[in-house]
């Protein structure tokens, strides 16, 4: 988010994509409601750690305690590594070489694929995943950073139809 701001441009031009990038964390916050514990103050504090990685690591686990531990560990790691990495990058500049030549950019989708896989066992999840991927694929060439991902939340709509159908079948059984 600060990257978009730091890249220059007017405040308004910077605000929209920055808010789009941040908006997905609202969805993650709701996805983490069953995982988070304790009172309102503790939840408000831990909410600072809500991000792609901590959500993916937590929701890949079925046991709520293990999920909460994974959320905290990942959230804190990302927080520390992100800030340390930003400082190192600012100090070293281009001296570290191209991270792409080491394949570092290919690590992230691979890790998220591993963390998504166990979640696909939940009712409606495969439909939601395919719909979300298609929405991102269609929007990617036309939209600013962040929009393809937050728009993918609409992938829950066909998943809800699946869930409703299952509930109806269970009622009849």
């Amino acid at each position: 988010m600060v990257g978009v701001v730091g890249a220059g441009g007017g405040a308004l031009a910077a605000l929209a994509p920055a808010l789009l990038l941040a908006a997905r964390n609202a969805v993650y916050g709701f996805a983490l409601v069953p995982v988070l514990r304790g009172g309102r103050a503790r939840r408000a504090l831990e909410a600072q750690l809500v991000i792609d990685e901590s959500t993916a690591m937590a929701r890949a686990r079925e046991d709520p305690r293990a999920a909460h531990r994974a959320f905290l560990a990942t959230g804190l790691s990302v927080f520390v590594c992100w800030n340390a990495g930003t400082l190192a990058g600012a100090l070293a500049g281009g001296g570290l070489g191209d991270p792409r030549s080491l394949g570092l950019d290919a690590m992230f989708p691979a890790a998220f694929l591993v963390l998504l896989a166990p979640q696909l066992r939940r009712p409606g999840a495969p439909v939601a995943a395919v719909a979300g991927a298609l929405i991102a694929l269609v929007l990617l060439p036309f939209s600013p950073a962040g929009l393809p991902i937050i728009a993918a939340v609409l992938g829950v709509v066909p998943a809800l139809a699946t869930l409703r159908r299952r509930a109806a079948i269970e009622r009849h059984a």
Binding site: Y28, F30, R40, S101, L102, A106, L120, L140, F142
Partner: protein, 100 residues
């Protein structure tokens, strides 16, 4: 970008994160809502994989990340651990780029 705008963005980004945990946090969750909360992050994570694999700055780019994700999927199917999958994906992309 002024400090005021920067602080405003920081506040907004925290507000997004805290919305669910603070306001939906302590209520009892019924089975219907629970099923929705269990899948709501799934389409975003799938979209994240698509964007991280194909993004070329507002256009789709097919490069070494695609076969790297293929190798990752294969290893995942063979039940390889996370670290192995991630390192194999990086190695695949690095190898293909070194060849090019």
């Amino acid at each position: 970008m002024s400090w005021a705008a920067l602080l405003g963005l920081a506040a907004a980004s925290y507000a997004f994160k805290a919305l669910g945990p603070v306001f939906a946090g302590r209520r009892a969750i019924g089975p219907g809502l629970r099923a929705v909360l269990d899948v709501v992050a799934v389409p975003l994570l799938a979209a994240l994989i698509v964007v991280q694999t194909l993004d070329g700055g507002e256009r789709i780019v097919l490069d070494a990340r695609v076969p790297a994700l293929g190798v990752a999927a294969l290893l995942l199917w063979r039940r390889a651990p996370l670290v192995v999958v991630v390192l194999a994906a990086a190695a695949t992309a690095a190898f293909l780029r070194a060849l090019a």
